[in-house]
Amino acid sequence: MDRAGARVNRLPRWFVAALTVGPATGLAVFFLWPFVTLLAEALSGEAISATLGRDATWDVVWFTTWQAVVSTVSTVLIAMAPAYVVARFDFRTRRLLVGLLTAVFVLPTVVMGAAILALLPESLDRTVFAIVAAHVVFNLAVVVRLVGAMWEHLPTDMEAAAATLGASRWQVFTQISLPLIRPSVIAAATVVFLFSFTSFGVIRVVGATGTRTVEVEIWRRATQLGDIGGAAVLTVLQLLVLGAGLAWSTTAQRRHSRALGLTLRSPLRRPTGRGERRLVTGVVAATFAVAGAPLVALVVRSFSTPTGWSATAWTDLGRTEIRPGIRVGVDPWNAIANSLVNAVWATLFAVVVGGLATLAIAAAGRAGRVLDAGLMLPLGTSAVTIGFGMLITFDAPPVDWRASWWLVPVGHALIAVPFVVRATLGVLRSVAPDLTTAAATLGAPPVRAWRETVVPYLWRPLAAGAGLAAAISLGEFGATSFLSRSGGETMPIAIERLLGRTGSLLQAQGFALATMLAVTTIVAVAVTDRLQAGGPSAGRDRGSS
C-alpha cells in the first residue's frame, strides 16, 4: 500500500506521543502492573514443574485451543449474513435486531446457557457441539457490530458496478466486499477467539460436567484449591497461546487494510426485488429466532412456578417484604441503577482511551503495533489473575484503591477498550490518504488536516464500540467479578443471588430480573446508536451521500 501520502503529512512526533501516553499508562497501571505483581508473588519453580508435569494441563490447553478455533470459525461464518444485512439494508426491525443480539451477548451465562440447552435437542446437550453453539449465539453481536461498522463505510458503487457487470451476489461478496472488509473480519475473529478461548461460564453451564478450559482450571486452582502458583503458571500458558494468535492477527489486519476511499456512511436502502427481499427477510427472521428464542425462554420462566403460571415474580418485584418479616435484600431498581452507573463510566473510559489508542496505533508505526497487541491482552488474560493482581497491587497508599468504586468500571473498560479499538481501527486505516493530502495541499497543517479528514470517520465505529462497551459493563465481564464489592449489587449479581437460593418465587424473580437486564441492554444499545446518529457526523452524512 502506498504510504507516501501519509509520510508527506506525517503528524508531528509530539502529537503522536501525546496520543499514546494516556492509553499506554492506563494499560501499564491497571493491567501490566497487577499482572506482573501477581506472577511475582505466585510463580515458583515448584509450581511450574508441578503444573507443566501434569498431563491434565496439556489436555486442557489442547481442548481450549481447538474448541476456540471451531467456535471462532463457526461464529464468523454464520454471523456474516446478519452482518451484511444489517450493514446494507434498511428494515423496520434493524435497531431492535442489533440490540437483541447485543443483549444476548451480555446476559449472564447461567441464564442464557440454560435457555440454549433447552433449545438444543437432548442428544446434543452437554457436548462440545453445545459449547460451540453457545459461543456462536453469544458472539454473533461481536461480528455483526465489528464487521458492520466497517461494512457500512464501504462505498456501494464498487458492489453496484460488479453487479451491473453481471456478477452474482455471491461473487460480489467474495470478490469485492470480502477482501475489503477482511481487516474487520480478522479483528472480529480475533475477539471471538479470545472470548471462546477464555470461556468460563459457557463451559460450566453448557459443557459436560468436568469440561475445563484453561480459564476454568485457573479459577478452580486459585479459588477452590488455593493453588495460586498453579493458576499463575496456567495464566502464562494461556497468554503464550493467545500471544501467538494475536501477533498473527495484528499483522494480518495491517496487511489487509488498504485505503478504500470510504464514505462517511453508505446509505442504507430498502431491499428491492424478490430475491433480495427474500434474502433479507430470511436472514432477519433466522437471526431473530436464534437470538430471540433464549430471551423468550427467559420471559416464560419468569412466569412459571412448579405448580403453574404466576405473575407474582413481576408484581412483587422490588417489594422488599416478600413474606411478612422476610426480605431478600435484592432491590431490582437499585441494581439497575448501579449497573447503569457502572456502564456509563466504563463506556466513557473505554471510548476515550480506545479512541485515543486507535489514533495512536494508526499513526505510530511499530510502537502502535505494540500498543495494539497490548490493549488486547486483558481480553485474553484470566479474570481471576487480573482481579487478584489488582487486589495485591492496589493495597497500600498512595494506591490504596482496593475498595474504590471506580475500579469496577475501570476493570470493565479494560475489557471494552479492545472492542472500541477493533471497531475503529479498520475504518481509520482505510481512510484514503489522498483526502489528508488534499487537505494539506490546500494549506492545512498536518494536525488540522488529520482532524478534518480522519476524525469524522471515527464517530460511527466509536459508537459501535461504545455499544459493546456498555454491554460488556452491563454483563459484568472480566476481572470485576473477582474484585470485592460494596455499595450495592449490579444486575448480574442480583440475578445470580436469586438463582442461588431455594424457593420458586426467588427463581422466577431471577428470570424476571434477567429479562429486565436484556431490555436494559437493548435500550442502552439503541440509545448509543441514536446518540451517534444525532452526533457530529450526521450533518456530513447527508453531504457525502
Partner: protein, 398 residues
C-alpha cells in the same frame, strides 16, 4: 458505600486536623457525621466494653500497632463476607444497624465472592486484609484459613452459648463458630407419592436399582455442596471404600452437574421440571420452599434424607492486620449475640450457633439438622481435598 465512607472519614480527619491546627471553633464540623458513620463526637477513649473475660492470647497477638497514637476519630469496621450475604435491606442488616447505633461503630459490608474465592483473597492479603472481620469460612476451608494465618485469634464474649461440638473445631480460638447447617439429599415428595414409591433412607438405598437415575449431584471440584456430599460418602464408607460406592452410584445412573443452581433449577423434578426427583441440596431447603413458595403453601414440597446430611459449620474471625482490632472484636461478639443470631435462619437459611436462640416455626416444622450429622475433621479434609477430588474426577467423569 465504603469508598464514600472512607472519603468522609478522610475528609473529616482532614477537617479536624485543620481545625486543630487553626485552634478555631469546631461548631461546623461536628454535626457532619449525623448518621453515626464518622462518629466525630466520640471521645478518644476506646471503651473496651465487651470481652470481659479477655484471654491472654489476644493481647499477645496484638503485633500490629500501626495506628499512630490513639486518636481514633472514626470507628468503622468492614465485614468481609461471601456473596449470599445480603448487603442491605434485610433484618440482618438492620441488626447490624442496631450494633452501630449502640456502639458508634459503623459496619460496611464487603462481598468477596464465593467462600473459596474469599479465602483465596484473604490468603493473598493476609496481614493487610481487605476488611476487619470475615464471615463465612466453613469447616471444609477452616484448616487452610488457619494455616494461611488470616485470622487473629480471639475468644469472643458470649462463646458460652455456643455448643462445644462447634467450638471444639477451633481449639485455639482462631475463629468463632457462627452458624451451621447440613448438605443433604432432598427429594420431591409429590413425585414419590405419585408413584407409590418410598423415598430412599440410606446411602445404600441410593445404589439400589429401584432408584436408578433418580439422583443429581454437583461436581465436588467446583461446588461446595458437591464436595460436602462426597465427604459424606467418605465418612460413610471410609477413605478406601468410597471409590467403590461411587462406582456403584455411577452404575446406578447418578447425574453430575457443575453447580447447585443447575442441579436444583434445571434437573430436579420439583423446581426445575427436570427428570431427577432427588438432588443434593440443604437441610434447610424445605423451609425455603415453603417461605418463598408461589403461590403460598403451608407444607413442604420436598423432604430430606437425614442419613446423608453432612455438617457445614461457618466461622467468623478478626482478620490479622486489621487497623481497628478493638472494634473488630466487638463486632465478632455481636455476631454471636442473640440479637444477631436470631436473624440468621430466615436470611441465610442456616442454624444459629448460639443455642439460646429460638428457631422460627418454619425451621421447627420443615428444616432438618440431625443430632448426629456426618462430619470429618477439618484437618483431614484440607489434607486430602485435592487428592480426593482428583481421584473422584478420574473415577466418575474420567
Amino acid at each position: 458505600m465504603i469508598a464514600t465512607n472512607r472519603l468522609r472519614v478522610l475528609a473529616a480527619g482532614t477537617v479536624l486536623a485543620l481545625v486543630v491546627a487553626a485552634c478555631g471553633s469546631d461548631d461546623t464540623t461536628t454535626n457532619e457525621g449525623g448518621d453515626g458513620s464518622v462518629a466525630t463526637g466520640e471521645p478518644p477513649t476506646p471503651e473496651i466494653t465487651t470481652a470481659p473475660d479477655t484471654t491472654s492470647d489476644t493481647t499477645a497477638g496484638d503485633t500490629t500497632p500501626d495506628t499512630v497514637g490513639d486518636d481514633r476519630t472514626a470507628a468503622g469496621v468492614t465485614l468481609v463476607t461471601y456473596d449470599s450475604f445480603p448487603e442491605a435491606d434485610t433484618s440482618l442488616n438492620e441488626a447490624l444497624g442496631r450494633f452501630t447505633a449502640d456502639t458508634g461503630i459503623d459496619v460496611d459490608i464487603l462481598v468477596a465472592g464465593d467462600t473459596g474465592t474469599m479465602l483465596a483473597k484473604a490468603a493473598l492479603t493476609a496481614g493487610n486484609p481487605e476488611g476487619d472481620v470475615m464471615w463465612g469460612i466453613d469447616n471444609t476451608f477452616l484448616s487452610r484459613a488457619v494455616e494461611e494465618d488470616i485470622f487473629e485469634p480471639y475468644e469472643a464474649a458470649g462463646l458460652g452459648n455456643v455448643p462445644s461440638e462447634l467450638t471444639d473445631l477451633v481449639p485455639n480460638a482462631d475463629a468463632t463458630p457462627v452458624d451451621y447447617g447440613d448438605v443433604c439429599v432432598n427429594y420431591d415428595i409429590g413425585w414419590f407419592d405419585e408413584r407409590g414409591l418410598e423415598p430412599p433412607t440410606s446411602f445404600d438405598d441410593l445404589v439400589d436399582p429401584a432408584y436408578a437415575g433418580m439422583l443429581v449431584v454437583q461436581n465436588p471440584a467446583t461446588s461446595s455442596p458437591g464436595l460436602a456430599f462426597l465427604l459424606a460418602t467418605i465418612d460413610e464408607y471410609g477413605a478406601d471404600g468410597w471409590q467403590q460406592y461411587w462406582q456403584a452410584l455411577g452404575d446406578n445412573g447418578v447425574e453430575v452437574v457443575e453447580s447447585w443452581t443447575q442441579a436444583y433449577y434445571e434437573r430436579f423434578t420439583w423446581a426445575g421440571g427436570g427428570p431427577t426427583p432427588m438432588v443434593v441440596s440443604y437441610g434447610t431447603s424445605p423451609p425455603a420452599e415453603v417461605i418463598f413458595a408461589d403461590p403460598p403453601r403451608d407444607d413442604a414440597p420436598t423432604g430430606v434424607m437425614e442419613s446423608t446430611c453432612f455438617r457445614q459449620v461457618e466461622f467468623a474471625g478478626v482478620l490479622r492486620g486489621t487497623d481497628a482490632p478493638e472494634e473488630a472484636r466487638q463486632l465478632v461478639d455481636f455476631l454471636i449475640s442473640e440479637e444477631f443470631q436470631q436473624e440468621l435462619p430466615l436470611n441465610l437459611f442456616v442454624y444459629p450457633a448460639n443455642s439460646s436462640v429460638d428457631l422460627p416455626q418454619e425451621f421447627v416444622d420443615f428444616a432438618v439438622a440431625p443430632d448426629e450429622p456426618r462430619t470429618l475433621d477439618p484437618d483431614v479434609i484440607d489434607e486430602n481435598r485435592s487428592t480426593w477430588i482428583d481421584e473422584w474426577t478420574e473415577l466418575v467423569l474420567g
